[in-house]
């Protein structure tokens, strides 16, 4: 790739990541959410891989990092669902909003997302899905970029 693209790509990737974070955090009241925001963050990593190459990319996702974030996303989602099952009797019950008045206020305050909307656990689910999608889509592109064609071998 050309030098102009190499100068531009990494700062643009940082802005792309921030936009992805904003999409994840606004997912409960605006279009977007965990998957869309995670895909936007992954697009930043993919842009760097395409422009700089897998070995020279400034965003280096190691195997350990990918497995930790992927596990964190899946485990967090399931644990929040199990919290609903444990406290209210329903898997993925919105323990942060408690629309059916099943829970004591202490439990609701723990799971309540701190903003003016009464979204409960939905932003937390968006965050976990976003992290999981970010590393999942990036891992696919990293795996594809490491394949070598038969002519190169």
């Amino acid at each position: 790739m050309g030098p102009i693209l190499k100068i531009f790509a990494f700062p643009a990737a940082i802005i792309l990541i921030c936009l992805g974070i904003l999409t994840i955090l606004g997912g409960h009241i605006t279009p977007g959410g965990g998957f869309q925001g995670g895909a936007m963050i992954a697009s930043a990593a993919i842009l760097c891989i395409i422009v700089y190459g897998i070995e020279k990319s400034p965003i280096q996702l190691s195997h350990n990092f990918i497995s930790i974030i992927e596990s964190l996303g899946a485990l967090g989602y399931v644990l929040i669902g199990i919290a609903g099952l444990f406290f209210a009797g329903f898997f993925l019950y919105n323990t942060g909003a408690d629309f059916y008045n099943l829970l004591p206020q202490v439990i609701v305050n723990i799971f309540h997302y701190p903003d003016v909307t009464n979204a409960g656990i939905v932003p937390y689910l968006n965050i976990f899905v976003g992290l999981k999608v970010f590393v999942g889509l990036s891992a696919v592109v990293i795996a594809f970029s490491q394949f070598k064609s038969k002519e190169m071998e």
């Binding site: 904003l22 400034p58 903003d115």
Partner: protein, 82 residues
Amino acid sequence: MINFGPIFFGFIIGLLVGLSMKNNPKTEISLTSGSFVVITIVAIVCAWQLGPFPYYTDFPIATGFLFGAIGLIFGKLLVSKA
């Protein structure tokens, strides 16, 4: 009322992503600390232009965007020092 959700979780997600930006000796781009100051200023301008997204009224800027950028740079500094 200040919405702490996007401030706190924007920083956390930015930090997690920033931890993957290690100093790669093979890379062809070398950003100085001045470059990151410029990126921060651009992020503040972007956050200002986005406005109080989504429908918040506590600050005139998109706090999730701004704290995401701060978390990114903080995460990169953390892994660069290590």
